[in-house]
């Protein structure tokens, strides 16, 4: 195993059909027009010395190390800033150049600590390398002059230090923050000798810095260094893998010393992230070795008993015996399984196979039920495939970007940076959200139209936009005529043209001024390539599926599907939401979205699995809890999902959990769901197993094992053990064999294999004979379903209404530094940014209730009550409050209700009528919770010994 070091070409790639041939040090090289001489040199195998250049950033030309000579030209131009020209003859080494470069290096080193042997960057320092490359042997100026060697370190950030004494003011960090991340937190303060990198005259932790790590990565010295490097030293090998956090699915290098992770560095060739990262993927991996991890299986008879540690054999035998007993006593449909989008494709495929083949029913579901199930329903109905249409890179060709019900700078930060680059380059922006999210106004980014819609009114808004398109003659008639079902279009056009859908008619319902909405619709329809990006603010509503169909209608009507720069693009919450859906984890369908009632499809699986399969849909997650309360559902295998913290109406969920006789939780930690478990099977982290994740753009990326599972088994092996103990044999030697089976059984995956993934890096399904290397943009030339189907999307107001008792609307979401239920990020230093969930409330609503910033407040709904601290925020609109669900002590889902999407049962997390008042004590639920956790997480000391 080796330490992977990507080639740094010095300046970014240029794309042009015009090629230019030139000569560098006598070597001929041909590159696209616009390429720098520096980049062309590297391509020719000639490394020109450099310090201020790196290929993730535009050239800057400050260090003067990369000077070259060009035949027929005067002077020594900087190769980073000199574009190639046909026939150019470049010399990169000469006595003159060597002297100039040594002079530059002398100046740098005269003001740099000479502590290379004890410096954390020793072995990974470009300044050190360049001193060697230019043959620096002396510093004629000495080291006694004025210098910066005693500048104070800033160690405020938990993950990296800023040591200005080592800084050469090359501005790579400043430019990375601007160009790569788009936050503009850093600047060069002062001029000349006084020039200093500054996060704005405050410590890093007090600045606008979002800790994405781009500056650390760009730094050519030890000025910005990961604390893990300072503590452990340089890594000796690295493994390419995929991040275990959000649906962007960034590719990382896990840089290792033996079996210890030293750091995670975003991989430049990662096609989803192109070498960028966020604070979670880059730094928040410490949970993988956190002391809270459970590493031995445990069982107990009652949930109030202490846990008893047992052997794996005992645990698996107990699970199989209990599940068999339950099926014998209560029937074959009395048990089921749930997976998480935190599981790999192979794991989720195996769990659904376990349920269908070994349990003999279809009671399997996955956590996409509570996030993006409406995406699957809506896009399959209208377009023919349950997946987003375009790849992330497609945003580079978008002229209009519409972000609705998504907060990408917090929830999908790496894609947000990509999007912001496109916006800074001139794309227009429409934002629809009840909260004034960051994207509405950022440095060099400002929404052209901000639609401050009220929670629950998405469908009215999208219908009004479509109304404008149809009634103002903005339909792309040629596109519709060629590609869509014309009868359905005509019916829809008549429906949507009705005056009741006009922006003026719905203004009172939506809260969006009619003129603003008309302007947004006109821009979307006429501004060139228009792309919709959306998140859970679309799906988690009683009309989530209707809204997805409404967006597909709008995109089809304006010809904005099936080409780069357009599309209807879901931003998936977790890393493998798309994959878990693809793998047949829903109770009604096999992998590849084929219904269980289809005899021909079922026959394929029956033959492959050598077992008869059920042709009726199984229980969805909420149905499981209902059936458990009712007494017909008795046993549940849960892999990686914390339903008690994440699912709505906690009281109902816990009533269902408590009513079951055998709950098996397979996870890293004793999460909230484990409080109701009878068996705990310790799981493995993404660093400890092989597999694949499929990101929001349908891209399969490899998860690679970088260290052995601390718990003894990878998760897929544990599922296999259960299946074998249940009497249904599974014998996979490696997850690649599971993927081979998926490929054999799933038409959209027939071309997928680990060999191909290793060769190409990643693949976007459909990947089959028609598209052997995958499909970045779907529906090109025609829709998967044939003709695009316009659906009638009548706005139906949610039954969750405000009244005198509950006059405010609560909407919930997430923030940058925490992830989902927080099980991972709460066990990292990310806690310093968000140690508790807080309630954001508009100043008017706060004042009316006598609430000051920081007050403890009671938040109550028809479902329950909790307490948390208030944060007064003008980004809220009056009448709407917001919080996150990252902390179990807040238990925000005690408040949310069971109202759900009509088609998929996806909960309506985004609309809950609530009241807020000052309080001085925790809610009854929170007091009960603390007692329950105390009782249900106790591990018998005797057994441990």
């Amino acid at each position: 195993m080796v330490l992977i070091k990507e080639t740094d070409y010095g300046t970014p790639a240029r794309h042009s059909d015009h090629l230019v041939t030139l000569e560098i040090d006598g070597k001929e090289v041909t590159v696209p027009e616009g390429t720098s001489v520096m980049r062309a040199s590297v391509q020719a195998g000639v490394n020109v010395p450099k310090l201020c250049s790196t290929d993730s950033l535009e050239p800057f030309g400050s260090c003067r190390l990369c000077l070259v000579e060009v035949e027929g030209r005067r002077g020594t131009p900087a190769s980073c800033h000199t574009p190639v020209e046909p026939g150019m003859k470049v010399t990169t080494q000469s006595d003159k150049l060597a002297k100039l470069r040594r002079g530059v290096m002398e100046l740098y080193i005269s003001d740099h600590p000479l502590d290379c042997l004890t410096c954390p960057a020793n072995g990974d320092c470009e300044l050190q390398d360049m001193a060697g490359a230019v043959g620096l042997r002396e510093v004629r100026y000495g080291y006694d002059g004025e210098n910066h060697l005693h500048e104070e370190k800033d160690e405020s950030n938990p993950y990296f230090t800023f040591d200005p004494s080592k800084c050469i003011v090359c501005s790579r960090c400043v430019r990375a923050c601007e160009e790569v991340q788009g936050t503009f937190a850093l600047t060069v303060k002062g001029r000349g000798f006084e020039s200093k990198i500054s996060p704005g005259d405050v410590l890093f932790m007090e600045s606008e810095c979002v800790s994405c790590g781009a500056c650390v990565q760009a730094c050519p010295t030890a000025t910005l260094t990961e604390k893990s490097i300072i503590e452990m030293g340089q890594p000796e090998h690295s493994v390419i893998t995929t991040c275990a956090y959000c649906g962007v699915g960034c590719t990382f290098k896990a840089e290792m010393q033996g079996n210890e992770v030293v750091r995670m560095v975003p991989f430049k060739d990662g096609k989803a992230n192109h070498g960028h990262s966020c604070v979670k993927g880059r730094f928040a991996w410490g949970y993988t070795s956190h002391k809270d991890r459970i590493l031995n299986p445990m069982v107990r008879a009652k949930i109030t008993d202490p846990w008893q540690e047992v052997t794996w054999e005992q645990a698996i035998a107990h699970v199989a015996s209990e599940f068999k007993r339950l099926q014998k006593e209560y029937g074959p449909d009395s048990i089921g399984g749930i997976t998480s989008s935190r599981c790999t494709n192979e794991e989720t495929f195996l769990v659904q196979k376990l349920v269908r083949a070994a349990f003999g029913n279809n009671n399997v579901d996955t956590c996409a039920r509570v996030c993006h199930s409406p995406t699957g329903y809506g896009l399959k109905t209208t377009l023919g495939t349950s997946a987003g249409t375009n790849d992330f890179d497609s945003v580079d060709q978008a002229d209009v970007i519409m972000v609705i019900g998504a907060n990408p700078t917090d929830a999908h930060p790496v894609f947000a940076s990509h999007m912001k680059r496109r916006l800074r380059a001139g794309a227009r922006l429409i934002v629809g959200d009840p909260r004034k999210i960051d994207l509405v106004k950022l440095p060099h980014v400002q929404a052209d139209y901000y639609l401050p819609l009220l929670p629950g009114t998405n469908v009215a808004v999208i219908n009004a936009m479509a109304h404008v398109v149809v009634t103002e003659g903005l339909v792309d008639e040629e596109y519709v005529r060629e590609r869509c079902d014309l009868a359905a279009f005509s019916r829809w056009a008549e429906f949507i043209s009705d005056e009741r859908h006009s922006p003026e008619a719905v203004e009172e319902i939506t809260g969006v001024p009619a003129e603003t909405l008309r302007g947004a619709a006109r821009l979307y329809a006429t501004g060139g390539n228009a792309a919709i990006y959306y998140g859970l603010g679309v799906t988690e509503h009683s009309q989530g599926s209707t809204m997805v169909m409404g967006m597909a209608n709008l995109a089809m009507a304006t010809g904005n599907i099936g080409k780069e720069g357009t599309g209807v693009n879901p931003l998936r919450g977790q890393n493998n939401v798309q994959g878990s859906c693809d793998m047949g984890s829903f109770p009604h369908e096999f992998s590849g979205y084929r219904h269980v009632s289809d005899d021909s499809v079922r026959a394929i699986f029956e033959e492959a699995w050598a077992v008869g399969l059920q042709g009726e849909p199984g229980l969805r997650i909420p149905n499981m809890f209902d059936a458990a309360v009712e007494g017909t559902f008795k046993g549940l295998y849960i892999q990686g999902e914390d339903v008690v913290q994440s699912d709505p109406n906690t009281k109902h969920v816990t009533a269902g959990m408590a009513a079951m006789e055998c709950v098996v939780v397979q996870d890293l930690f004793l999460n909230e769901t484990a409080s109701y478990a009878h068996v705990f099977l310790p799981g493995s982290t993404f660093l400890e197993k092989d597999g694949t994740f499929t990101n929001a753009e349908r891209r399969l990326g490899r998860v690679r094992k970088v260290l052995p599972p601390k718990n003894g088994y990878a998760d897929w092996e544990i599922t296999m053990l259960i299946s074998n103990a249940m009497g249904y044999e599974m014998n996979y030697g490696h997850p690649s064999e599971i993927m081979d089976e998926i490929a054999r059984l799933t038409p959209t995956f027939t071309g997928v294999s680990y060999e191909k993934l290793d060769r190409l890096g990643s693949l976007q399904w459909p990947c089959n004979d028609n598209a052997p290397e995958g499909t970045p943009v779907m529906h090109k030339g025609g829709f998967v379903r044939g003709k695009g189907l316009f659906m009638i999307t009548e706005f139906v107001a949610t039954d969750e209404r405000t009244n005198d008792r509950f006059p405010l609307l609560l909407t919930t979401g997430r923030i940058l530094t925490q992830y989902n239920v927080g099980a991972q990020t709460r066990r990292t230093a990310n806690e310093v940014w968000h140690e508790e969930d807080v309630l954001e409330i508009h100043p008017w609503d706060a004042e009316n209730r006598g609430i000051s910033d920081g007050d403890l407040v009671a938040l109550s709904s028809r479902a329950g009550e909790t307490t948390l601290h208030a944060r007064i925020s003008e980004r809220m609109q009056p009448g709407v409050v917001y919080t996150t669900f990252h902390h179990p002590g807040t238990a925000v889902n005690v408040i949310t209700t069971e109202f759900a999407d009509w088609a998929t049962d996806c909960p309506e997390y985004k609309v809950t009528a609530v009241q807020v008042r000052r309080t001085s004590k925790p809610s009854e639920w929170q007091q009960h919770y603390n007692e329950l956790r105390e009782k249900t997480t106790h591990i018998s000391a005797e057994a441990k010994a």
């Binding site: 029937g331 074959p332 449909d333 429906f495 009683s542 209707t546 109770p587 009604h588 219904h595 009632s597 009726e616 849909p617 199984g618 229980l619 969805r620 149905n623 059936a627 017909t632 009638i792 999307t793 009548e794 139906v796 039954d799 759900a900 009509w902 088609a903 998929t904 049962d905």
Partner: protein, 68 residues
């Protein structure tokens, strides 16, 4: 159950009557477990109080499910 069936009916109510009834029936067949279908069939048999008329018609079209 009744609430969800009514939500489904309200979506399909925007379509012509026969299409709406067929849409609801198909949805129930495709996504509801047999036990739930049996429960709603029994509910309609006992009067179907509070159910949207389209849902009532759709439920009447459902074949009796086999519940294990």
């Amino acid at each position: 159950m009744v609430h969800n069936a009514n939500q489904i009916a309200l979506f399909f109510a925007a379509y012509p009557h026969d299409e709406a009834v067929a849409g609801v029936a198909n949805h129930l067949r495709m996504y509801w477990v047999p036990r739930m279908r049996r429960q709603i069939i029994e509910y309609v048999a006992h009067g179907g109080e509070g159910l949207h008329p389209i849902a009532v018609e759709a439920v009447k079209r459902l074949p009796a499910p086999v519940v294990r």
